[in-house]
């Protein structure tokens, strides 16, 4: 309870600002970086799923106007101002605007491999822009930006992130951070979308078996695992059928747990100090598994709002957790 007198934690205070699943939203990434100063955080951790879900072609017409789509409707942009405003809005929603001629659009609209190539090119460009932005804003500070991949992240972004000067990109390894250790494990369990980085429970068990022994002191370890632990409130989402439509029973949506069982077992057995997750956008919450604080800040990136978690560690204890929306 909030009024219970707690023994004051000793030692250096470490404030983490954690967010996840920005899915290409430029405004949310900028807010995330700005969040370090705004919230007074010592470290930024991004839980993965940096990449977006849609390319929005903007096709130039013979009369100089541009045709595109918004909320399922075709729209025409008649001036440069309208075009600039539209591009900005598309970027902020996490989509990738692609200005092209109508001829190019007609050529690509039924060509799936060409679309995929364009998609990956734009995703890599966006990640590179973000890496430059982080470098620009955070260089000269001692605030690291740490991230690992989500299930939706193309493998093509790995190289960009590894090369980025101010981003620490880790996967399947344990790193050190100011007296704490961080175990990084990206991707997710199987999803209905058959995304880029999915693993079976057996594969997760094998990954944990390989990474967990690298942790020297579990009482000062943070699990940075994209998928949340199975069977909790932070991994609950609606069940989908084979057509990716929500399943209803008695008129009510059926919910299921989409998290990782192997992770739950690992947390339960090893009791790290903190476990931070994303993946399930609906699963915003803060729970305990034994003594481990488990957090999923959720995600509402299409609205341009950044959901995050501000976590304070001191003396090997979680002394504060605050879910934010800014």
């Amino acid at each position: 309870m909030f009024w219970k007198k707690k023994k004051k934690a000793q030692g250096e205070k470490l404030t983490i600002f954690f967010a996840s699943d920005l899915h290409g939203s430029a405004i949310c990434f900028k807010k995330f970086v700005s969040g370090a100063k705004f919230y007074g955080a010592d470290v930024l951790i991004m839980g993965g799923d940096l990449t977006g879900k849609a390319v929005v072609p903007i096709a130039e017409q013979s009369d100089g106007s541009f045709k595109s789509a918004q909320s399922g409707d075709e729209i025409t942009l008649k001036s440069q101002d309208e075009l600039d405003e539209f591009i900005k809005r598309v970027n902020n929603q996490g989509f990738y605007p692609a200005v092209m001629s109508e001829t190019e659009f007609q050529a690509i609209k039924d060509d799936t491999p060409a679309q995929e190539k364009l998609f990956k090119k734009l995703v890599v460009e966006r990640v590179r822009e973000w890496a430059d932005y982080a470098e620009d804003k955070l260089s000269g500070t001692d605030i690291p930006l740490i991230t690992s991949p989500g299930n939706d992240d193309f493998f093509e972004i790995d190289e960009v992130l590894h090369k980025a000067s101010h981003i620490q990109y880790h996967e399947d390894e344990v790193t050190e951070l100011r007296g704490y250790e961080i175990l990084h494990c990206g991707g997710s369990t199987k999803t209905p979308w058959d995304t880029e980085r999915e693993y079976t429970e057996e594969q997760y068990e094998a990954r944990f078996a390989k990474i967990l022994p690298q942790v020297k002191d579990m009482s000062r370890c943070i699990f940075n695992v994209h998928v949340p632990p199975h069977g909790t409130i932070i991994d609950q989402c609606p069940k989908l059928d084979e057509n990716l439509q929500v399943v209803f029973e008695m008129g009510n949506p059926v919910h299921l747990h989409a998290g990782c069982k192997a992770l739950y077992t690992a947390i339960e057995q090893h009791q790290p100090i903190l476990s931070i997750h994303g993946h399930i956008h609906e699963g915003r919450g803060n729970i305990k598994i034994g003594n481990t604080t488990c957090i999923n800040p959720g995600s509402v990136y299409p609205e341009g709002l950044l959901q995050g978690a501000l976590v304070t560690l001191q003396g090997g204890e979680v002394t504060g957790v605050q879910l934010t929306q800014g």
């Binding site: 309870m1 909030f2 009024w3 205070k13 699943d21 899915h23 405004i27 900028k30 807010k31 700005s34 969040g35 705004f38 799923d49 879900k53 849609a54 390319v55 929005v56 072609p57 789509a69 909320s71 399922g72 075709e74 902020n92 659009f105 609209k109 039924d110 799936t112 679309q115 995929e116 998609f119 939706d152 997710s188 979308w193 058959d194 995304t195 409130i233 609606p238 989908l240 929500v246 008695m250 008129g251 009510n252 059926v254 919910h255 993946h279 956008h281 609906e282 915003r284 803060n286 509402v300 299409p302 341009g304 501000l310 304070t312 504060g320 605050q322 879910l323 934010t324 929306q325 800014g326």
Partner: protein, 536 residues
């Protein structure tokens, strides 16, 4: 990777993401249930003709419906712009000082939880008691009549009412899925009850009712023409009406349909769970307002014609004031008298009871969501935000709300002062009007948020749609604040009651300041939870 399917100019890839589950129909049912059409009919017919003689009930419903639609219009623009769960707390926390946002939310929740307790009271008073009484009248068994009177005496009322509130807690604790399933069945029975009431009234005339009423009640009351006796004794006791429509009374009596109509906007509490939010909220809120208003106008017109306005007014006046010839004037009972059928009385009563029930877990849910949101923002104890690992429900928040409503029930039943408190609705309407007032300026004060709203580009007379909608909503809310203020029957402005409202505001401010200090000592700045992160 999909192609540009259906001629759409967008290339989508398969990727995981947020799935909102509540459709427009779900939103409509949620809101219509929280309007509680049956409760509206019962309360309008009980208090309307009795205390507002000459007030035209049909026009009053129309006025309340139009005003509530304007309020809903303003709230729709808020929830479309900030599609989050949490009601006015979310809107307030993004547009005004955090302390004011919390205080307005606390005032609103206090009012709704108080009316939640009153709904449990009305379930007994307007549902259970008349049913038992009518069975007694028809069967000639005095024990049923006595039981009808016994259940409304203080201790039985408190125990049954508390049992209803606790049942709501048990259902909510079992999870949203079970709650929604129960609500859908209850909603179906409630709708059938309302349809049955209209169907029952349609084939009869006022003469049929007078004959049936006199035949049944004459021997019980030992009066030859009880219908006329009730009217004449009511007039002697002070009920006065010259047969003309009184527009001042029509204006004031519109408070009674307005009170349940506020439920039509309660989907602002679940904004984060609604898909196609603009379309669904429009359909959900305005559809609920229109449905309730139309059903009330039909039912009230039929009731007034069949039972007689003068009879309804004097019967309730006598019954509630303890004067003249007294008969329970509840509509369900009168419908049973008209048909002479206990089955119809029971079925119509069951429909009414179901409508009143819809309010109770709905109001509890509204309170639970708000205090969970406070807890997430660290301005309330963590325990209120804790989710049960087994049931996946916020058990502490649920049972806190249940406990509060049981306390309200006790105060309402056992104390003369609190049983007269109806003024909290004024406080809730005032809270809404303040938030709607903030919405007028929101496109200008928070352009960085508003420009992301799907309605950002829409203008009316050169003004942002939200400004126009919230202006209309603000004036409509203010209209009802003052209507309630000048109506001592529905709310009024008794100084002692006003002190209670002021007390709730003060509690909200003190609560925020205390929590802010506690969090500060824990190294947490609660104001950060509300602020948009500035991009440098």
């Amino acid at each position: 990777m999909s192609d540009a399917a259906g001629g759409s100019r967008i290339f989508l890839r398969k990727a995981s993401g947020l799935i909102r589950t509540a459709s427009g129909t779900d939103t409509y049912i949620y809101n219509t249930g929280l309007v509680s059409i049956g409760l509206g009919v019962a309360s309008i017919m009980l208090y309307g003709p009795a205390f507002y003689p000459g007030g035209d009930l049909v026009w009053a419903c129309m006025l309340a419906g139009v005003m509530m639609a304007l309020i809903a219009f303003g709230l729709i623009t808020w929830t479309v712009t900030l599609p989050r769960s949490g009601g006015i707390y979310v809107f307030g926390s993004r547009s005004m000082f955090p302390v004011l946002a919390l205080t307005l939310s606390l005032v609103e929740i206090t009012a709704w939880l108080f009316y939640c307790a009153i709904a449990a009271y009305w379930m007994v008073y307007l549902g259970l008691s008349p049913t038992l009484t009518f069975i007694g009248y028809l069967s000639g068994d005095q024990a049923w009549v006595d039981a009808g009177a016994w259940v409304v005496s203080p201790w039985p009322m408190f125990l049954i009412g508390s049992g209803i509130l606790i049942l709501s807690g048990i259902i909510l604790s079992s999870g949203m899925r079970f709650y929604l399933m129960v609500q859908k069945w209850v909603f179906a029975v409630a709708v059938l009850g309302s349809i049955m009431l209209i169907a029952v009234l349609l084939p009869y005339s006022n003469a049929d009712f007078v004959a049936s009423f006199n035949a049944l009640m004459g021997p019980i009351l030992s009066v030859e023409d009880p219908y006329r006796e009730i009217i004449s004794s009511g007039r002697e006791a002070g009920w006065a009406w010259d047969g003309q429509t009184d527009w001042t009374q029509t204006w004031l009596v519109s408070n009674w349909p307005f009170l349940p109509l506020v439920g039509a906007a309660f989907s602002i509490a679940i904004g984060g769970e609604i898909k196609s939010v603009e379309k669904s909220q429009k359909w959900g809120m305005l559809g609920a307002v229109a449905t309730a208003t139309i059903v009330w106008m039909i039912t009230i017109a039929l009731c007034t014609d069949r039972f007689g306005y003068e009879f309804l007014g004097t019967a309730a006046f006598n019954f509630l004031g303890g004067t003249g010839v007294q008969v329970d004037p509840t509509i369900t009972l009168l419908a049973g008298v008209l048909t002479g059928s206990p089955l119809i009385c029971i079925l119509v009563s069951l429909g009414f009871i179901c409508w009143m029930w819809m309010w109770i877990p709905g109001m509890h849910t509204f309170g639970v969501r708000a205090i969970v949101a406070w807890s997430f923002d660290r301005i309330a104890p963590e325990a209120w935000g804790k989710i049960s690992p087994t049931r996946h429900t916020p058990m502490v928040a649920i049972w806190t709300c249940i406990a509060v409503t049981v306390v309200f029930m006790a105060l309402f039943v056992f104390t003369a002062f609190f049983s007269a408190i109806v003024i909290l609705i004024e406080a809730a309407v005032l809270a809404w009007s303040i938030v709607l007032g903030a919405g007028i300026f929101f496109p200008y004060t928070r352009p960085e948020i508003y420009e992301k709203s799907p309605i950002a580009g829409r203008k009316v007379l050169g003004l942002p749609l939200m400004t126009v909608a919230c202006t209309l909503g603000f004036f409509a809310a203010q209209f009802y604040f003052w209507t309630l203020f000048f109506d001592p029957t529905a709310a009024g402005h008794d100084p002692q009651q006003l002190m209670i409202v002021a007390g709730v505001f003060v509690i909200g401010i003190v609560f925020y300041l205390v929590m802010k200090q506690i969090r500060k000592s824990q190294g947490i700045d609660v104001s950060l939870a509300f602020k948009e992160i500035p991009i440098e």
